[in-house]
Amino acid sequence: MENELIHKEETRDDTAAKLGMWIFIFTELLLFGGLFIVYSVFRTQYSREFHQAALELNVTIGAFNTIVLLISSMTIAMALTALQKNNKKLSLRLIGITILMAFVFLVNKYFEWGAKFHHGIYPGSELMMKFEHGHLLYFSLYFFMTGLHALHIIAGMVLLSVIFFRIKKGIIHSEKYVFLENGALYWHLVDLIWIFLFPLLYLIT
């Protein structure tokens, strides 16, 4: 009863495309998952140092970025809804907003990292080398995890830009939108990772 609906066109298999995207997402989840485990182990071993180090992060900036990412996650989900409803203009606008939000996130991150650099805290800095072991581990993990996440934001921006122009050209449309669907899945993944990074790095002190 489902087969007729799924296989509308001969050479297309949207289900397989989406399954492939999900398998890629699983690898990403396990990549960050591994880092979360490293973080958890060191956190239990150096709980006092991690506590002190986490106090140096700015919760306001972290919270602002969380809100930005959550909103962008909704706008990209809405872009898919809009395209499915054949509202190309709204879909393009929503993708544009999502990319803008990603940019705001990065600008914020730039200022946050910039402030840390200004205080002499950056990987390999003289100050960091003098830190206690737990302190050093915390900041190394902070820079590595947020840095890797920021790279994912940049990749997401590139991907969404490609999707934006493909929709504009009509390559992706209301009957053929699996590329947008997969792009949106990737963007939600970036949001999902941040949902866990934010409390772990900024809040639990």
């Binding site: 489902e2 485990i37 958890s40 182990v41 239990t44 909704m74 809804t81 949001d191 409390p199 809040l203």
Partner: protein, 94 residues
């Protein structure tokens, strides 16, 4: 029964999910601002887990996907939990 890829999530649903996510973000910031010792970690992770569940279910449409995908997603999170638990057992008994 199982719906297929043609399911369209309404704008309203997505809006409600966003509001819920923002609400949970506020709660988690307020809750962790108090010193509740180990409960801070537990609460923050439970809230993050709930938020993650909402994102996966509604934004990522898992609710409307095939059973195969649902099982796969469940298994990946189970695998992660398993690795986490085993790692901690290892460290606890060294």
């Amino acid at each position: 029964m199982s719906e297929n890829a043609t399911h369209i999530t309404e704008y309203k649903t997505l809006g409600i999910v966003l509001v819920t996510l923002l609400f949970f973000t506020l709660i988690t910031i307020v809750v962790t601002s108090f010193d509740l010792a180990v409960w801070n970690v537990v609460l923050a992770l439970v809230i993050a887990g709930t938020k993650g569940f909402l994102v996966v279910t509604y934004f990522m449409h898992i609710k409307y996907e095939s059973l195969l995908l649902k099982i796969l997603v469940g298994m990946v999170f189970f695998l992660f939990a398993l690795i986490l638990v085993i790692t901690f057992i290892d460290y606890a008994y060294r």
